[in-house]
């Protein structure tokens, strides 16, 4: 396989995953903003910006933080490289570059996401924003379905690898946002707003039911962190992403004979996480742990690029 093709497939996976994550984030933030007993208002949208590290870029637009402005910024704004539109554009661009490596179905799901977004310029109303993010998550499911039917060749594993690396990064940022999200003055930890904020995080990763199933004790910050960081059966947890990355690298190694630094980093990370428990993580600092994970993930990304000679 051409190195350029491998890189494009990997990034196709990363961008599709990022688009879906951003869509889920917007959906959950709308929920937090509108459906909780006490609207969290601008705080909710500010935290959404913090999760995707879009705060400084957004403030450069000079707009006030409102549901309308931030959801437009996160969904359709072509000047925001992290917007859903930009991610889908980039995914399609990478997909076009490697069309021969994709099945018709996989390409069509990417192209139809792009086509449906290219018809829209603004999403002012709440309903239209919700409809948009719902269609993006549905298309992401379609993409995963199409992938599932692909031959288990290098192309398949590179896309999967990109998705898993991106997912780890996204989940870590999502949990970390709770660190940035200050409670309004006088609002107690464990109070209504605090609970709403943690629930929103669960919503973003579709884990509300999973949480209730696994933690009979009720909603506590450490239980949510445990689910999203250390539970291997939770598909979007950090440990599940770490496990997937390791697995996909192994599959690629088997097919291509290429193994090296990326495999070492991935294996080490997975083993290390298996030794941790959530209390330990919280005592030594949740934020520090998550920052460390994100940095390690970036290192892994570089090692992957080197190992497979990405141009």
């Amino acid at each position: 396989m051409l190195s350029r093709v491998a890189a494009s497939l990997y990034w196709l996976g990363r961008y599709m995953e990022r688009a879906e994550f951003t869509a889920r984030l917007v959906e959950a933030t709308i929920r937090l903003d509108h459906m909780s007993a006490r609207p969290a208002g601008t705080g909710a949208w500010a935290s959404a910006l913090a999760v995707v590290q879009g705060d400084s870029r957004f403030s450069a637009t000079g707009q006030p933080i409102t549901q309308k402005t931030v959801s437009q910024f996160l969904t359709l704004d072509p000047t925001n490289p992290g917007s859903i539109r930009s991610c889908i554009d980039a995914a399609r661009d990478n997909g076009r570059a490697v069309r021969t490596a994709l099945t018709r179905e996989a390409w069509e799901t990417v192209n139809s996401s792009w086509l449906s977004l290219s018809k829209r310029s603004k999403t002012w109303s709440l309903e239209s924003t919700l409809a948009l993010v719902e269609s993006v998550t549905a298309q992401a499911r379609g993409f995963e379905g199409a992938l599932h039917r692909m031959l288990r060749s290098e192309a398949y594993w590179f896309i999967r690898l990109g998705m898993a690396v991106e997912r780890g990064d996204n989940s870590a940022r999502l949990v970390d946002v709770k660190y940035h999200l200050l409670l309004p003055e006088g609002e107690p930890v464990g109070g209504v707003i605090d609970r709403d904020q943690w629930t929103t995080i669960l919503h973003t990763v579709s884990a509300v039911t999973a949480f209730r199933w696994l933690y009979k004790s009720g909603l506590t910050p450490s239980a949510v962190a445990d689910l999203l960081i250390l539970r291997p059966e939770m598909p979007r947890s950090l440990v599940a992403s770490a496990e997937e990355v390791e697995k996909y690298l192994t599959a690629l190694g088997r097919l291509t004979g290429l193994q090296g630094e990326a495999d070492r980093i991935a294996r080490r990370r997975h083993i290390d996480m298996g030794r941790l428990d959530i209390d330990q993580i919280i005592i030594s600092g949740l934020h520090e742990f998550l920052t460390g994970y994100i940095a390690n993930n970036a290192q892994l990304d570089l090692a992957i690029a080197k190992q497979f000679r990405f141009p």
Binding site: L2, A6, R96, T100, W107, S112, R309
Partner: protein, 481 residues
């Protein structure tokens, strides 16, 4: 318009009353299928093309950066007899083209014998100096030709252009058929249509057959594309995918010690055959345009060292040049010893004073073309042009007569076509694709039919609002007269 009624592919000269022999089934299908039903099927086909991203870019048109070429649901049809006549003529033509290019870059016998004026070839911008005296692997130059044909009567086919560089459009032949099979199974049920989906296999076999003698038994063939922003990128990816060859861009290739390598995740892999969809001028910045980012530095050196085959060979533009075109009957006769089975359209060479005089006096009835233009640009269609357009063109022509040729306005044949008002005749041309390898000449039974969608229009180019149709070639079932 001043044109006499054109020959219709289905109804001949019967004015829509009686289908020609062999066309009864198609006519019956067309008449018995409800108009709204046809519109629905056509809409479904176009929606599918958009979904697949079968788009093309029109240069200088930012608004419609990606458009699909309109698809018409009514196919054109060739009987087995019509097709076999065409195929024989096409084979003769491509063999002559190849012999001509080989001669021009070799002995130049045709120039020495005074068949063609020397300066027309040697001073032609399409004459590729680095090719002079070089014989490519297997002596083949014009591996892939897309010969444009027009028709004016039952037995009157003319060659309009040879397209011996990097002809495009073959993906439409294949995708249009896919769409037709899916949307009009009722038509195929009753017609013995020859398949076209063998084209990618024929392409791959041809490419493998022209590998340098040094290559391994299973040579590595690649398709070199300018990249995803090129207007024909869809076709490039489609062909590579279906022929099972790697789709590469220039940065994927490097030349080391006159050998071409592609960069894979496992390191370098040697390349034997390059089907390039990049113009000569951009192939190698060390030899041609130095500002080309699309090309591969050192590629020509590797080629001239005999280590890689380039398909088509650089410099084949000399064979499909519009200035050379008018000499094609002589060229065919010179190399094959036979008369051309497919004639060319009468052509006035404006470089000749007598011809220029005639052309200037008849601008309102002629088609005048730039010898180095393409895609319907730089062209005057006299009968449909305004007075102002004719006068502007007259000035351009008088300033540089050597750059122009003129031809009579042909009454191009028509095919019934689905338009706003219903089914109506529209003018068409036809581009079959001819492959020449060391394994012989292969002509896929089908091609690209382009249709001018505006009433009375003779310009079929997609950049000028033309559409496409499926082209069906029937099996010989023995019941033809």
């Amino acid at each position: 318009m001043g044109l006499k009624r054109a020959f219709d592919e289905i109804y001949g000269a019967s004015d829509g009353k009686a289908p020609r022999q062999g066309f009864e089934t198609l006519a019956k299908w067309l008449n018995s299928t409800d108009l709204e039903d046809l519109r629905g099927r056509q809409g479904a086909a176009e929606a599918a093309f958009r979904q697949l991203g079968i788009t093309f870019a029109v240069y200088g048109d930012d608004e419609a950066a990606e458009r699909i070429i309109p698809f018409d649901i009514v196919p054109r049809l060739f009987t087995a007899r019509e097709w076999s006549r065409l195929a024989v003529g096409l084979e003769q033509r491509v063999k002559a083209l190849n012999a001509f290019v080989a001669d021009i870059y070799g002995e130049r016998a045709i120039l020495k014998d005074g068949i063609i004026p020397e300066e027309l070839v040697l001073a032609n911008s399409q004459f590729c100096i680095p090719m002079n005296g070089f014989t490519p692997p297997h002596g083949l130059y014009t591996h892939i030709c897309g010969i444009d044909l027009v028709r004016t009567g039952p037995d009157d086919f003319y060659i309009l252009e040879d397209n011996a560089r990097t002809p495009s459009g073959v993906s439409y032949m294949l995708e249009n058929r896919e769409a037709m099979l899916r949307l009009c199974p009722d038509l195929f049920e009753n017609l013995p249509v020859q398949p076209v989906d063998c084209y990618p296999d024929s392409l791959r076999a041809m490419l493998a057959s022209v590998a340098p003698h040094t290559a391994a038994a299973d040579p590595t063939c690649v398709l070199l594309t300018p990249g995803r922003y090129n207007s024909a990128y869809y076709e490039h990816s489609f062909l590579a995918d279906n022929a099972g060859i790697e789709l590469v861009e220039a940065p994927d290739l490097i030349v080391d010690d006159d050998v071409v390598w592609m960069m894979t995740i496992q390191g370098r892999k040697r390349v034997d055959v390059i089907y390039r969809r990049i113009d000569d001028a951009f192939l190698d910045p060390l030899v041609f345009r130095p500002d080309s980012y699309l090309g591969v530095p050192g590629l020509m050196a590797a080629y001239l060292a005999g280590n890689v085959t380039i398909v088509n060979a650089p410099g084949t533009g000399i064979a499909d040049d519009k200035a050379i075109y008018s000499y094609m009957p002589e060229i065919v006769r010179y190399y094959s010893g036979e008369e051309a089975k497919l004639p060319i359209v009468d052509t006035w060479r404006c470089r000749e004073p007598e011809a220029l005089k005639y052309v200037l006096a008849h601008l309102d009835e002629l088609v005048v073309k730039l010898v180095d233009g393409s895609g319907g640009y730089g062209m005057l269609v006299g009968p449909t042009a305004t007075k102002q357009q004719i006068e502007d063109f007259r000035k351009a022509l008088m300033a540089e007569p050597h750059r122009y040729i003129a031809q009579p306005t042909l009454a191009l044949s028509t095919v019934p076509t689905l338009v706003e008002s219903g089914i109506a005749p529209r003018h068409v041309d036809f581009r079959p694709f001819v492959l020449s390898g060391s394994n012989g000449v292969t002509i896929t039974p089908g091609g690209l039919t382009r249709v001018a969608l505006a009433e009375g229009s003779l310009v079929v180019n997609s950049s000028q609002g033309g559409g496409t149709k499926d082209s069906l070639v029937l099996y010989d079932t023995g019941d033809e007269a």
